[in-house]
Symmetry: C2
Subunit: 204 residues, 2 copies
């Protein structure tokens, strides 16, 4: 590896840091880049530079966005009375691929996971509760779409209890149906399964 030119070696090291990429794959990717058009590399470099500068969180739902309010929250065709609570943006994207869900979202950016020292204050639960308090009349249903595993269930139960504590809330709280196999990861579910899960959602 010492014989490799510096930029190539450093890019291979960079790829190795990424998840699911081992040393051999990192090398292949590095050499593949050499065969790509310079324009593609320049565009990728520009996007890498801008990524963290331009991407921020929507102040309403905490979805990733370039603007203060994300494209979903600012879409007038979206049903603002229905809020689906997801653990992260990849889960939101799984819902969006179907183009069938018309409500809005709230992205927690994590789950309650005491073993990894993640408590309710480390994710956007407080902001969800505030949002429900402020838009008490508008929000009619909160769909808890956290992952169907232990941490996701705990997060859903915590949120359900916290919403119930808000005085004068009438919004329905639902949970995705167990059409999803237990222990799975929402991110990898196909949309039909997610659709079944939305249809069969139960009172929580």
């Amino acid at each position: 590896m010492n014989t490799l030119p510096v930029p190539l070696k450093k890019l291979i090291d960079f790829f190795e840091k990424l998840p699911a990429i081992g040393p051999k794959t990192a090398k292949r990717l590095g050499f593949y880049l050499l065969r790509m058009p310079q324009q593609d590399l320049e565009e990728a470099a520009q996007n890498l530079l801008n990524l963290k500068k331009l991407v921020r969180k929507c102040t309403l739902c905490f979805n990733l966005s370039e603007n203060e309010i994300c494209s979903i929250c600012s879409d007038s065709k979206r049903d603002k009375s229905q809020v689906t609570v997801v653990e992260d943006v990849l889960d939101l994207l799984s819902f969006e691929t179907g183009n069938q869900y018309t409500g809005v979202y709230h992205v927690l950016h994590g789950r309650i996971d005491p073993l990894n020292y993640i408590g309710p204050d480390d994710i956007y639960i407080f902001q969800l509760l505030e949002r429900i308090k402020i838009a008490k009349e508008e929000i009619q249903e909160v769909i808890l779409a956290t992952n169907p595993n232990m941490e996701g269930e705990a997060t859903a139960m915590y949120i359900r209890n916290k919403i119930a504590e808000i005085p004068q809330t009438t919004c329905k709280i639902t949970r995705l149906a167990y059409g999803l196999p237990i222990g799975a990861d929402l991110e990898f579910a196909d949309y039909m399964t997610l659709q079944k899960a939305i249809e069969g959602r139960r009172s929580f």
Copy 2:
């Protein structure tokens, strides 16, 4: 996907173009980048920009290098009398990981593969022959280390015949021993297997 910020979406598209990365992995990688330090992203961007500008081929052996002559060819401790001919730089790296081979290389950057319209003139065979002609007295052995499959064998045989045509060449032509499993890819061989193959090389 339309809901994603542009730089993120474009980086995900970029990852999808790379080999062995599917749409789901590309998304994961994109989101992972958001959690990396800005400094790492900036460094990677810089390396992407410089990659094709700074990386060129060694004028002697066609290994990748930042200088006119690569670090192996310019290393005085390397035995210039022994030239190992490999299909590409990843194969060279497989040899180098062992730190046991002390000769130099010649990188063909491909193999003769008529089905994919790659003939002898499309890879650096002519340059290898020229190199042998010029350094007739210095080069004592050419080790043909092309892959042990049909294209690699054809390439090795072609090169052997062409070297034999050079007047007054006395250099030995050898081929890696079949310690390597037939049909395999040199790039993925462990170094011990490669070492056995170097030791057991036979007259060709």
